[in-house]
C-alpha cells in the first residue's frame, strides 16, 4: 500500500490526513507536503494519523522535521492517533513528550497551549 495525503483547512489550522504506510520509500512525499504547507504560510498543522497502517523512524524523522519548521514560525504541529501500535513507536522513542497527541481531529483543532 502506498501513502495517501489530503489537506483541508479548519479555522486557522490545516489538517493533513495521512493514510497507508509511512516508511523510507514514502516518507519523502510527506516531507514535501509539510514543507509546502509551511512555505505557503500554514504554520498550525494537525496531522491525522488514524489511517496510517505503518510508521517507522523515517516517518518520525519527517514529523520532527515538520515540527522544527512550524516552530520557526511560532506555529504548532499536533497529531491525531488512537492506534496502539503507532503510539508505541512514539513512546519508545520518547517522542510523546515532543508531540501533542490527540484522540480526535476536533480535539486537536480546538487545542491551544
Amino acid at each position: 500500500m502506498d501513502l495517501s495525503l489530503s489537506t483541508r483547512t479548519v479555522g486557522d489550522r490545516t489538517v493533513v490526513e495521512v493514510g497507508g504506510e509511512i516508511d523510507v520509500y514514502t516518507a519523502p512525499k510527506l516531507r514535501e507536503q509539510l514543507v509546502e504547507l509551511v512555505n505557503d504560510g500554514s504554520f498550525h498543522l494537525v496531522v491525522d494519523m488514524e489511517g496510517v497502517d505503518f510508521l517507522d523512524s523515517t516517518g518520525l524523522g519527517v514529523l520532527v522535521g515538520g515540527l522544527k519548521r512550524v516552530r520557526a514560525h511560532e506555529g504548532s504541529l499536533r497529531l491525531v492517533c488512537n492506534q496502539e501500535r503507532i503510539l508505541k513507536i512514539f513512546r519508545i522513542t520518547g517522542l510523546t513528550k515532543v508531540f501533542p497527541i490527540h484522540t480526535s481531529v476536533e480535539e486537536a483543532v480546538a487545542a491551544t497551549d
Binding site: E21, D23, V24, Y25, F54, D56, S57, T58, L60, G61, R85, I89, I92, T93
Partner: protein
C-alpha cells in the same frame, strides 16, 4: 534449522518487500501474532538503515536478510557491506555537515526503535560491514488433530 535468504538492491522501495517476507516467515515459524507488528517494524528499521548506509557509501552490493527458523526461536539477520568507522573517527567527507548530521540522526533513531522493540538484539560492525541480529521466541505449532 530452516533459512530463507533475501537479497535486494539498496533501494527504499524494496524495504517494504523485506518487511512482508519477514513477517510471513515469522508467522510460519510460530512467532506470536501479537509480536508480528514488532517483527515487521524492526526488520524494516534494520533494512532502512542498511539501504541508507549502502546509498551514502556508494555501495552497489545488495542488502542481505536472513530469516532463520530455529527450534525455539526465530532470528533475523540484516547485513550491510558498509565499512564502519570506529566511534570518534571522522567519517569520509560527503555532503554538507547538515546532511551528514541528519543521516546520523535518522540512523540513530532507527537503532533506538530496534532496541526499544526487541529484547534480544545484537549489533556488530567491522571493516567489511555491519550486522544486526534480532531474535524472538516461538511457540511450536499445535499438532494437527488426527
Amino acid at each position: 534449522m530452516a533459512t530463507v535468504e533475501l537479497r535486494f538492491s539498496a533501494l527504499p522501495e524494496h524495504v517494504r518487500t523485506a518487511r512482508l517476507v519477514a513477517a510471513a516467515v515469522a508467522r510460519r515459524s510460530g512467532v506470536d501474532e501479537a509480536v508480528l507488528d514488532e517483527v515487521r517494524l524492526a526488520v524494516g528499521e534494520a533494512c532502512t538503515r542498511a539501504v541508507g548506509l549502502h546509498q551514502s557509501g556508494g555501495i552497489s552490493a545488495p542488502v542481505r536478510v536472513l530469516l532463520i527458523e530455529e527450534e525455539k526461536q526465530f532470528s533475523i539477520e540484516v547485513g550491510d557491506e558498509a565499512p564502519h568507522t570506529a566511534p570518534g573517527e571522522v567519517p569520509g567527507a560527503h555532503g554538507g555537515a547538515d546532511e551528514s548530521d541528519a543521516e546520523t540522526e535518522e540512523d540513530e533513531m532507527g537503532l533506538a526503535v530496534i532496541s526499544g522493540l526487541v529484547d534480544d538484539v545484537e549489533v556488530t560492525a567491522g571493516e567489511n560491514g555491519g550486522l544486526i541480529r534480532m531474535s524472538w521466541p516461538t511457540t511450536p505449532p499445535a499438532t494437527l488433530a488426527p
